[in-house]
Protein backbone atom coordinates (compact mmCIF):
# COMPACT_ATOMS: atom_id res chain seq x y z
CA UNK A 1 0.00 0.00 0.00
CA UNK A 2 1.34 3.36 -0.97
CA UNK A 3 2.03 5.89 1.72
CA UNK A 4 -0.57 8.59 1.78
CA UNK A 5 0.97 12.01 1.43
CA UNK A 6 -1.01 15.12 2.17
CA UNK A 7 0.27 18.27 0.56
CA UNK A 8 -0.48 21.46 2.43
CA UNK A 9 -0.42 24.81 0.74
CA UNK A 10 1.85 27.33 2.35
CA UNK A 11 -0.29 30.27 3.45
CA UNK A 12 0.51 33.18 1.17
CA UNK A 13 0.62 36.77 2.35
CA UNK A 14 -2.20 38.93 1.17
CA UNK A 15 -1.31 42.13 -0.67
CA UNK A 16 -2.40 44.20 2.29
CA UNK A 17 -0.03 42.32 4.57
CA UNK A 18 2.78 42.51 2.05
CA UNK A 19 2.57 46.24 1.45
CA UNK A 20 1.99 47.45 4.99
CA UNK A 21 4.44 45.00 6.69
CA UNK A 22 1.61 43.74 8.91
CA UNK A 23 3.59 40.79 10.26
CA UNK A 24 6.57 43.05 11.04
CA UNK A 25 4.25 45.24 13.07
CA UNK A 26 2.71 42.25 14.85
CA UNK A 27 6.16 40.99 15.85
CA UNK A 28 7.22 44.39 17.07
CA UNK A 29 4.04 44.58 19.12
CA UNK A 30 5.03 41.35 20.84
CA UNK A 31 8.54 42.55 21.64
CA UNK A 32 7.36 45.84 23.07
CA UNK A 33 4.82 43.97 25.18
CA UNK A 34 7.61 41.79 26.53
CA UNK A 35 9.77 44.88 27.10
CA UNK A 36 7.33 46.20 29.69
CA UNK A 37 6.86 42.86 31.44
CA UNK A 38 8.67 41.91 34.59
CA UNK A 39 11.89 40.00 34.09
CA UNK A 40 11.67 36.30 34.87
CA UNK A 41 15.30 35.71 35.80
CA UNK A 42 16.74 34.57 39.11
CA UNK A 43 19.69 36.62 40.39
CA UNK A 44 21.45 33.34 40.98
CA UNK A 45 24.22 33.73 43.52
CA UNK A 46 22.08 36.07 45.59
CA UNK A 47 18.78 34.31 45.15
CA UNK A 48 18.40 30.55 44.95
CA UNK A 49 15.38 28.54 43.98
CA UNK A 50 14.55 25.36 45.84
CA UNK A 51 14.22 22.42 43.49
CA UNK A 52 11.28 20.01 43.79
CA UNK A 53 11.69 16.98 46.03
CA UNK A 54 12.10 14.65 43.07
CA UNK A 55 15.02 16.72 41.82
CA UNK A 56 18.04 14.62 40.86
CA UNK A 57 20.92 16.35 42.59
CA UNK A 58 24.00 15.15 44.45
CA UNK A 59 23.72 11.60 45.81
CA UNK A 60 23.36 10.72 49.47
CA UNK A 61 23.21 7.64 51.71
CA UNK A 62 20.27 7.17 54.05
CA UNK A 63 21.31 5.99 57.51
CA UNK A 64 20.04 3.15 59.68
CA UNK A 65 17.36 4.93 61.71
CA UNK A 66 14.49 2.46 62.05
CA UNK A 67 12.66 3.57 58.95
CA UNK A 68 14.19 0.98 56.66
CA UNK A 69 12.13 -1.09 54.22
CA UNK A 70 11.54 -4.76 55.04
CA UNK A 71 14.29 -5.88 52.69
CA UNK A 72 16.85 -4.28 54.97
CA UNK A 73 15.54 -6.20 57.98
CA UNK A 74 16.33 -9.44 56.13
CA UNK A 75 19.84 -8.40 55.21
CA UNK A 76 20.63 -6.70 58.51
CA UNK A 77 21.60 -9.95 60.21
CA UNK A 78 24.55 -10.39 57.87
CA UNK A 79 25.75 -6.78 58.06
CA UNK A 80 27.91 -4.88 60.51
CA UNK A 81 25.95 -1.61 60.61
CA UNK A 82 25.52 0.55 63.72
CA UNK A 83 22.63 2.93 64.31
CA UNK A 84 23.28 6.19 62.44
CA UNK A 85 25.63 4.64 59.92
CA UNK A 86 24.94 4.28 56.22
CA UNK A 87 22.52 1.44 55.58
CA UNK A 88 24.36 0.41 52.42
CA UNK A 89 24.57 -3.39 52.19
CA UNK A 90 27.22 -3.45 49.47
CA UNK A 91 25.10 -5.30 46.92
CA UNK A 92 26.58 -3.46 43.91
CA UNK A 93 23.11 -3.09 42.38
CA UNK A 94 23.68 0.63 41.84
CA UNK A 95 26.86 -0.10 39.91
CA UNK A 96 25.02 -2.72 37.85
CA UNK A 97 22.30 -0.24 36.97
CA UNK A 98 24.68 2.60 36.20
CA UNK A 99 25.32 3.49 32.55
CA UNK A 100 28.83 4.57 33.54
CA UNK A 101 29.65 1.90 36.15
CA UNK A 102 33.29 2.86 36.60
CA UNK A 103 32.30 5.99 38.49
CA UNK A 104 31.53 3.81 41.54
CA UNK A 105 34.29 2.61 43.79
CA UNK A 106 32.66 0.25 46.31
CA UNK A 107 34.70 -1.99 48.61
CA UNK A 108 33.37 -4.37 51.21
CA UNK A 109 35.14 -6.55 53.69
CA UNK A 110 34.38 -9.34 56.13
CA UNK A 111 34.70 -8.58 59.80
CA UNK A 112 36.10 -11.11 62.28
CA UNK A 113 32.64 -12.29 63.32
CA UNK A 114 31.79 -13.10 59.72
CA UNK A 115 29.66 -10.06 58.98
CA UNK A 116 29.88 -7.88 55.88
CA UNK A 117 30.97 -4.27 56.14
CA UNK A 118 31.07 -1.58 53.46
CA UNK A 119 34.37 0.21 53.93
CA UNK A 120 34.34 2.39 50.86
CA UNK A 121 31.63 3.90 48.71
CA UNK A 122 32.98 6.61 46.38
CA UNK A 123 31.22 8.15 43.43
CA UNK A 124 33.07 10.25 40.90
CA UNK A 125 30.39 12.75 39.97
CA UNK A 126 32.40 14.04 37.02
CA UNK A 127 31.25 10.94 35.16
CA UNK A 128 27.72 10.96 36.53
CA UNK A 129 24.89 11.96 34.21
CA UNK A 130 22.36 12.15 37.07
CA UNK A 131 19.96 9.69 35.43
CA UNK A 132 18.84 8.33 38.81
CA UNK A 133 18.96 4.64 37.82
CA UNK A 134 21.20 3.84 40.80
CA UNK A 135 18.62 5.17 43.25
CA UNK A 136 15.91 3.06 41.66
CA UNK A 137 18.10 -0.03 41.82
CA UNK A 138 18.90 0.32 45.51
CA UNK A 139 17.09 -2.52 47.35
CA UNK A 140 17.30 -0.96 50.83
CA UNK A 141 16.35 2.62 49.92
CA UNK A 142 19.85 3.72 50.86
CA UNK A 143 21.19 5.58 47.85
CA UNK A 144 19.05 8.64 47.14
CA UNK A 145 19.40 11.87 45.22
CA UNK A 146 19.02 15.17 47.04
CA UNK A 147 18.08 18.67 46.01
CA UNK A 148 21.68 19.96 46.09
CA UNK A 149 22.89 21.12 42.72
CA UNK A 150 25.97 23.21 43.51
CA UNK A 151 28.62 20.61 42.79
CA UNK A 152 31.42 22.78 41.44
CA UNK A 153 34.86 22.32 42.92
CA UNK A 154 38.33 23.75 42.47
CA UNK A 155 39.94 20.40 41.69
CA UNK A 156 38.80 17.06 40.38
CA UNK A 157 39.17 15.29 43.68
CA UNK A 158 36.58 17.65 45.13
CA UNK A 159 33.89 16.21 42.90
CA UNK A 160 34.29 12.67 44.31
CA UNK A 161 31.79 12.03 47.09
CA UNK A 162 32.43 9.55 49.92
CA UNK A 163 30.26 7.56 52.30
CA UNK A 164 30.72 9.93 55.27
CA UNK A 165 29.57 13.09 53.55
CA UNK A 166 26.82 11.17 51.76
CA UNK A 167 25.29 10.05 55.07
CA UNK A 168 25.46 13.61 56.40
CA UNK A 169 23.78 14.88 53.25
CA UNK A 170 20.95 12.37 53.55
CA UNK A 171 20.29 13.27 57.19
CA UNK A 172 20.23 16.92 56.24
CA UNK A 173 17.94 16.26 53.29
CA UNK A 174 15.50 14.16 55.29
CA UNK A 175 15.24 16.66 58.13
CA UNK A 176 14.65 19.46 55.66
CA UNK A 177 12.26 17.79 53.27
CA UNK A 178 11.31 14.42 54.71
CA UNK A 179 7.67 15.31 55.41
CA UNK A 180 7.00 16.80 52.04
CA UNK A 181 4.38 15.23 49.76
CA UNK A 182 5.92 13.56 46.74
CA UNK A 183 5.09 15.95 43.98
CA UNK A 184 6.80 16.96 40.77
CA UNK A 185 6.71 20.69 41.42
CA UNK A 186 5.17 22.88 44.04
CA UNK A 187 4.02 26.42 43.54
CA UNK A 188 5.98 29.23 45.11
CA UNK A 189 3.57 30.08 47.93
CA UNK A 190 3.34 26.57 49.23
CA UNK A 191 7.04 26.08 48.77
CA UNK A 192 8.00 29.06 50.86
CA UNK A 193 5.42 28.07 53.49
CA UNK A 194 6.83 24.55 53.67
CA UNK A 195 10.53 25.12 53.94
CA UNK A 196 11.22 28.75 53.09
CA UNK A 197 14.42 30.00 51.60
CA UNK A 198 17.34 27.62 52.03
CA UNK A 199 20.90 28.79 52.24
CA UNK A 200 23.14 25.93 51.24
CA UNK A 201 26.44 27.59 50.64
Amino acid sequence: MAVKVKYVERPQLTNRERILFIDFIKGMGITIKNFFRKTITTAYPFEKLTPPIRFRGTHAHRVKDGKEPPSFKVLERFMDIQEGESRCVGCYMCQQACPVPELFNIQTTQTEDGKKKVIRFDMNLLNCMYCGLCTEACPVDCLIMTDIYETASYHRAGTVIHMEDMTKRAVDFDTRRGNEPDRIWIDDEQRSKLWGQIKWS
Binding site: F24, G27, M28, I30, T31, I32, N34, F35, R37, K38, T39, I40, T41, A43
Partner: protein, 336 residues
Protein backbone atom coordinates in the same frame (compact mmCIF):
# COMPACT_ATOMS: atom_id res chain seq x y z
CA UNK B 1 48.17 83.42 12.35
CA UNK B 2 44.46 83.55 11.70
CA UNK B 3 44.70 80.25 9.84
CA UNK B 4 46.57 78.66 12.75
CA UNK B 5 43.89 79.83 15.19
CA UNK B 6 41.15 78.35 13.04
CA UNK B 7 43.05 75.08 12.73
CA UNK B 8 43.55 74.79 16.49
CA UNK B 9 39.93 75.70 17.16
CA UNK B 10 38.70 73.12 14.65
CA UNK B 11 41.04 70.48 16.02
CA UNK B 12 39.73 71.04 19.55
CA UNK B 13 36.16 70.92 18.31
CA UNK B 14 36.76 67.72 16.34
CA UNK B 15 38.38 66.18 19.39
CA UNK B 16 35.34 67.06 21.49
CA UNK B 17 33.04 65.55 18.87
CA UNK B 18 35.11 62.37 18.60
CA UNK B 19 35.44 61.89 22.35
CA UNK B 20 31.75 62.59 22.76
CA UNK B 21 30.94 60.04 20.10
CA UNK B 22 33.22 57.47 21.77
CA UNK B 23 31.57 57.93 25.15
CA UNK B 24 28.16 58.05 23.52
CA UNK B 25 28.83 54.84 21.61
CA UNK B 26 30.03 53.16 24.80
CA UNK B 27 26.77 54.01 26.51
CA UNK B 28 24.77 53.08 23.42
CA UNK B 29 26.13 49.55 23.93
CA UNK B 30 24.68 49.59 27.43
CA UNK B 31 21.40 50.94 26.07
CA UNK B 32 21.23 48.19 23.47
CA UNK B 33 22.09 45.47 25.97
CA UNK B 34 19.48 46.70 28.42
CA UNK B 35 16.87 46.96 25.68
CA UNK B 36 17.69 43.52 24.28
CA UNK B 37 17.58 42.08 27.77
CA UNK B 38 14.18 43.45 28.63
CA UNK B 39 12.76 42.41 25.26
CA UNK B 40 13.78 38.90 26.23
CA UNK B 41 12.52 39.34 29.81
CA UNK B 42 15.97 39.39 31.40
CA UNK B 43 17.52 42.43 33.06
CA UNK B 44 20.74 42.78 31.04
CA UNK B 45 23.95 44.01 32.71
CA UNK B 46 23.15 44.48 36.39
CA UNK B 47 26.11 44.21 38.70
CA UNK B 48 28.82 46.66 37.56
CA UNK B 49 27.76 49.89 39.17
CA UNK B 50 24.13 50.72 39.90
CA UNK B 51 22.02 48.73 37.41
CA UNK B 52 25.09 48.02 35.29
CA UNK B 53 25.74 51.68 34.66
CA UNK B 54 29.54 51.23 34.62
CA UNK B 55 29.43 48.16 32.39
CA UNK B 56 30.64 49.99 29.23
CA UNK B 57 33.78 51.12 31.07
CA UNK B 58 34.46 47.60 32.29
CA UNK B 59 33.91 46.31 28.77
CA UNK B 60 36.26 48.88 27.29
CA UNK B 61 38.98 47.97 29.81
CA UNK B 62 38.47 44.31 29.06
CA UNK B 63 38.65 44.75 25.29
CA UNK B 64 41.70 47.01 25.50
CA UNK B 65 43.69 44.69 27.74
CA UNK B 66 42.90 41.51 25.83
CA UNK B 67 45.57 39.70 23.89
CA UNK B 68 45.56 40.85 20.28
CA UNK B 69 46.12 37.80 18.11
CA UNK B 70 46.96 38.05 14.43
CA UNK B 71 46.66 34.72 12.61
CA UNK B 72 49.67 33.55 10.61
CA UNK B 73 48.29 33.49 7.11
CA UNK B 74 46.39 36.76 7.03
CA UNK B 75 47.20 39.64 4.74
CA UNK B 76 48.77 41.74 7.51
CA UNK B 77 48.34 45.19 5.94
CA UNK B 78 44.69 44.73 5.01
CA UNK B 79 43.98 42.92 8.27
CA UNK B 80 45.10 45.93 10.30
CA UNK B 81 43.65 48.39 7.84
CA UNK B 82 40.21 46.78 7.76
CA UNK B 83 39.23 47.51 11.35
CA UNK B 84 40.29 51.15 10.97
CA UNK B 85 38.63 51.28 7.57
CA UNK B 86 35.33 50.29 9.12
CA UNK B 87 35.70 52.65 12.07
CA UNK B 88 37.23 55.89 10.82
CA UNK B 89 34.81 56.70 7.97
CA UNK B 90 31.86 55.97 10.23
CA UNK B 91 33.07 58.60 12.67
CA UNK B 92 34.12 60.95 9.85
CA UNK B 93 30.48 61.40 8.86
CA UNK B 94 30.18 63.43 12.07
CA UNK B 95 32.17 66.18 10.34
CA UNK B 96 29.16 67.24 8.30
CA UNK B 97 26.33 66.50 10.75
CA UNK B 98 24.99 69.72 12.27
CA UNK B 99 23.56 69.47 15.78
CA UNK B 100 21.84 72.84 15.80
CA UNK B 101 21.95 76.46 14.76
CA UNK B 102 25.02 78.54 15.71
CA UNK B 103 24.50 80.10 19.14
CA UNK B 104 26.39 82.56 21.31
CA UNK B 105 27.77 81.94 24.80
CA UNK B 106 29.88 84.60 26.62
CA UNK B 107 30.17 86.57 23.39
CA UNK B 108 31.73 83.70 21.46
CA UNK B 109 29.78 82.32 18.57
CA UNK B 110 29.74 78.54 18.75
CA UNK B 111 28.74 76.43 15.79
CA UNK B 112 27.53 73.00 16.93
CA UNK B 113 28.93 71.37 13.79
CA UNK B 114 32.47 70.93 12.47
CA UNK B 115 31.88 72.14 8.96
CA UNK B 116 28.90 73.23 6.92
CA UNK B 117 29.86 71.89 3.51
CA UNK B 118 27.60 72.62 0.61
CA UNK B 119 27.99 68.96 -0.43
CA UNK B 120 27.62 67.60 3.11
CA UNK B 121 25.12 64.90 2.22
CA UNK B 122 27.27 63.63 -0.65
CA UNK B 123 30.26 63.45 1.70
CA UNK B 124 28.23 61.52 4.25
CA UNK B 125 27.11 59.05 1.58
CA UNK B 126 30.68 58.67 0.35
CA UNK B 127 32.07 57.98 3.83
CA UNK B 128 29.23 55.55 4.46
CA UNK B 129 30.25 53.66 1.34
CA UNK B 130 33.94 53.67 2.26
CA UNK B 131 33.24 52.14 5.65
CA UNK B 132 31.79 49.13 3.81
CA UNK B 133 35.27 48.44 2.47
CA UNK B 134 36.35 47.73 6.03
CA UNK B 135 33.99 44.77 6.17
CA UNK B 136 34.94 43.51 2.71
CA UNK B 137 38.68 43.89 3.43
CA UNK B 138 38.23 42.11 6.75
CA UNK B 139 36.59 39.22 4.96
CA UNK B 140 39.28 39.08 2.30
CA UNK B 141 42.32 39.60 4.51
CA UNK B 142 41.35 37.01 7.12
CA UNK B 143 42.20 34.16 4.72
CA UNK B 144 39.42 32.03 6.14
CA UNK B 145 36.17 30.84 4.64
CA UNK B 146 33.62 32.25 7.05
CA UNK B 147 34.92 35.82 6.99
CA UNK B 148 35.20 35.54 3.22
CA UNK B 149 31.55 34.53 2.89
CA UNK B 150 30.55 37.29 5.30
CA UNK B 151 32.45 39.93 3.38
CA UNK B 152 31.03 38.84 0.04
CA UNK B 153 27.52 38.83 1.47
CA UNK B 154 27.98 42.34 2.77
CA UNK B 155 29.19 43.43 -0.67
CA UNK B 156 26.18 41.80 -2.34
CA UNK B 157 23.76 43.44 0.08
CA UNK B 158 25.37 46.84 -0.10
CA UNK B 159 25.51 47.07 -3.90
CA UNK B 160 21.72 47.00 -3.93
CA UNK B 161 21.04 49.24 -0.96
CA UNK B 162 23.57 51.97 -1.75
CA UNK B 163 21.79 52.56 -5.06
CA UNK B 164 18.37 52.69 -3.42
CA UNK B 165 19.71 54.94 -0.64
CA UNK B 166 21.17 57.38 -3.17
CA UNK B 167 17.88 57.64 -5.02
CA UNK B 168 15.86 57.93 -1.81
CA UNK B 169 17.95 60.88 -0.64
CA UNK B 170 17.15 62.69 -3.89
CA UNK B 171 13.65 63.59 -2.65
CA UNK B 172 14.62 65.82 0.30
CA UNK B 173 17.46 67.31 -1.75
CA UNK B 174 15.00 68.29 -4.47
CA UNK B 175 12.68 69.91 -1.95
CA UNK B 176 15.43 71.80 -0.14
CA UNK B 177 17.41 72.63 -3.25
CA UNK B 178 20.68 72.06 -1.42
CA UNK B 179 23.11 69.34 -0.37
CA UNK B 180 24.02 71.17 2.83
CA UNK B 181 22.47 69.41 5.81
CA UNK B 182 22.00 72.71 7.65
CA UNK B 183 20.10 74.24 4.75
CA UNK B 184 17.97 71.11 4.44
CA UNK B 185 16.90 71.58 8.05
CA UNK B 186 16.20 75.26 7.50
CA UNK B 187 14.02 74.40 4.52
CA UNK B 188 11.77 72.33 6.84
CA UNK B 189 10.53 75.31 8.86
CA UNK B 190 6.88 74.93 7.91
CA UNK B 191 6.58 71.22 7.25
CA UNK B 192 8.84 68.26 7.67
CA UNK B 193 10.00 66.47 4.55
CA UNK B 194 8.42 63.23 5.77
CA UNK B 195 5.08 64.39 4.30
CA UNK B 196 5.65 63.88 0.59
CA UNK B 197 8.75 61.69 1.11
CA UNK B 198 7.16 58.86 3.08
CA UNK B 199 8.25 56.28 0.51
CA UNK B 200 11.81 57.56 0.66
CA UNK B 201 11.70 57.29 4.46
CA UNK B 202 10.70 53.62 4.26
CA UNK B 203 13.56 53.01 1.82
CA UNK B 204 16.01 54.87 4.04
CA UNK B 205 14.98 52.86 7.10
CA UNK B 206 15.65 49.63 5.23
CA UNK B 207 18.93 50.98 3.85
CA UNK B 208 20.15 52.05 7.29
CA UNK B 209 19.34 48.61 8.66
CA UNK B 210 21.20 47.00 5.74
CA UNK B 211 24.18 49.35 5.92
CA UNK B 212 24.68 48.94 9.66
CA UNK B 213 24.07 45.19 9.50
CA UNK B 214 21.17 45.14 11.91
CA UNK B 215 18.93 42.17 12.11
CA UNK B 216 16.73 41.64 9.14
CA UNK B 217 19.88 42.21 7.09
CA UNK B 218 22.67 40.88 9.31
CA UNK B 219 23.70 38.19 6.85
CA UNK B 220 27.31 39.34 6.94
CA UNK B 221 27.83 38.13 10.48
CA UNK B 222 24.93 35.67 10.79
CA UNK B 223 26.29 34.12 13.99
CA UNK B 224 24.29 30.93 13.54
CA UNK B 225 25.67 30.05 10.13
CA UNK B 226 28.92 31.98 9.72
CA UNK B 227 30.44 31.73 13.23
CA UNK B 228 30.94 35.48 13.40
CA UNK B 229 31.12 36.46 9.77
CA UNK B 230 33.90 38.87 8.92
CA UNK B 231 35.05 39.30 12.55
CA UNK B 232 35.78 35.60 13.06
CA UNK B 233 39.57 36.01 12.97
CA UNK B 234 39.69 39.26 14.93
CA UNK B 235 40.48 39.65 18.61
CA UNK B 236 40.87 42.39 21.16
CA UNK B 237 40.31 46.01 20.21
CA UNK B 238 40.50 45.27 16.48
CA UNK B 239 37.44 43.10 17.03
CA UNK B 240 35.80 45.67 19.25
CA UNK B 241 36.04 48.40 16.63
CA UNK B 242 33.75 46.57 14.19
CA UNK B 243 30.57 46.38 16.26
CA UNK B 244 31.35 49.78 17.73
CA UNK B 245 31.56 51.27 14.24
CA UNK B 246 28.71 49.37 12.64
CA UNK B 247 26.13 48.91 15.33
CA UNK B 248 26.58 52.07 17.33
CA UNK B 249 28.41 54.90 15.61
CA UNK B 250 27.08 54.20 12.11
CA UNK B 251 23.55 53.62 13.37
CA UNK B 252 23.68 56.79 15.46
CA UNK B 253 25.11 58.95 12.70
CA UNK B 254 22.78 57.59 10.05
CA UNK B 255 19.85 58.10 12.43
CA UNK B 256 21.01 61.70 12.80
CA UNK B 257 21.10 62.14 9.02
CA UNK B 258 17.66 60.55 8.68
CA UNK B 259 16.30 62.93 11.31
CA UNK B 260 17.86 65.86 9.48
CA UNK B 261 16.43 64.78 6.15
CA UNK B 262 12.92 63.77 7.14
CA UNK B 263 12.08 64.99 10.64
CA UNK B 264 13.16 68.60 10.62
CA UNK B 265 16.48 68.24 12.44
CA UNK B 266 16.57 70.36 15.56
CA UNK B 267 13.11 71.84 15.12
CA UNK B 268 10.71 70.95 17.93
CA UNK B 269 8.14 68.21 17.61
CA UNK B 270 4.74 69.47 16.40
CA UNK B 271 2.54 70.98 19.16
CA UNK B 272 5.45 70.83 21.63
CA UNK B 273 7.28 73.95 20.47
CA UNK B 274 6.32 75.87 23.64
CA UNK B 275 8.43 73.55 25.84
CA UNK B 276 11.64 75.18 27.14
CA UNK B 277 13.94 72.66 25.47
CA UNK B 278 17.02 73.90 23.59
CA UNK B 279 17.45 73.10 19.92
CA UNK B 280 20.18 70.51 20.12
CA UNK B 281 18.23 68.64 22.79
CA UNK B 282 15.28 68.35 20.41
CA UNK B 283 17.70 66.96 17.87
CA UNK B 284 19.06 64.39 20.30
CA UNK B 285 15.56 63.38 21.40
CA UNK B 286 14.61 62.66 17.80
CA UNK B 287 17.85 60.80 17.07
CA UNK B 288 17.37 58.78 20.25
CA UNK B 289 13.83 57.83 19.27
CA UNK B 290 14.95 56.76 15.82
CA UNK B 291 17.88 54.82 17.28
CA UNK B 292 15.50 53.05 19.65
CA UNK B 293 13.32 52.22 16.66
CA UNK B 294 16.28 50.56 14.96
CA UNK B 295 17.06 48.62 18.14
CA UNK B 296 13.44 47.58 18.36
CA UNK B 297 13.50 46.26 14.79
CA UNK B 298 16.83 44.54 15.44
CA UNK B 299 15.62 42.63 18.47
CA UNK B 300 12.31 41.65 16.88
CA UNK B 301 12.89 40.34 13.40
CA UNK B 302 14.65 37.20 12.19
CA UNK B 303 17.12 37.24 9.32
CA UNK B 304 16.38 37.38 5.62
CA UNK B 305 18.16 35.09 3.21
CA UNK B 306 20.73 36.77 0.99
CA UNK B 307 18.67 36.21 -2.16
CA UNK B 308 15.61 37.72 -0.46
CA UNK B 309 17.64 40.75 0.55
CA UNK B 310 19.04 41.44 -2.89
CA UNK B 311 15.65 40.73 -4.44
CA UNK B 312 14.06 43.27 -2.14
CA UNK B 313 16.78 45.82 -2.86
CA UNK B 314 16.39 45.69 -6.61
CA UNK B 315 12.71 44.82 -7.01
CA UNK B 316 11.13 46.80 -4.16
CA UNK B 317 13.41 49.46 -2.73
CA UNK B 318 14.80 50.86 -5.98
CA UNK B 319 11.36 51.26 -7.64
CA UNK B 320 10.02 52.79 -4.41
CA UNK B 321 12.85 55.33 -4.37
CA UNK B 322 12.25 56.20 -8.01
CA UNK B 323 8.50 56.51 -7.40
CA UNK B 324 9.30 58.84 -4.52
CA UNK B 325 11.29 61.09 -6.86
CA UNK B 326 8.27 61.24 -9.18
CA UNK B 327 5.91 62.07 -6.32
CA UNK B 328 8.19 64.78 -5.00
CA UNK B 329 8.60 66.26 -8.48
CA UNK B 330 4.82 66.44 -8.90
CA UNK B 331 4.51 67.89 -5.37
CA UNK B 332 7.05 70.61 -6.19
CA UNK B 333 5.22 71.46 -9.42
CA UNK B 334 1.87 71.75 -7.63
CA UNK B 335 2.86 73.43 -4.34
CA UNK B 336 5.95 75.24 -5.50
Amino acid sequence: MDLLGTAIFLAIKSLIFIMGMFLGAAYLTLLERKFAGHVQQRPGPLHVGPHGFLQPIADALKVLTKEDLVPDNVDKVLFYLASLMAFVPAIMILAVVPFGEPFTIFGIEIQPYISDLNVGLLLALAFGSISIYGVIFAGWASNSKYPMIGGLRKAAVLIGYEVALGFALAGPIMMAGSFSLREIVEAQQGMWFIIPNILAFVVVVFCVLAETGRTPFDVQEAEAELVGGYVTEYTGMKFGLFPLAEWYIATFVLSAITVILFFGGWQPLPLLGWLPIPEFLWFFIKVFLLFMFFLWVHWTLPRYRVDQITEMAWKVMLPLALANILIVAVWIIIFG
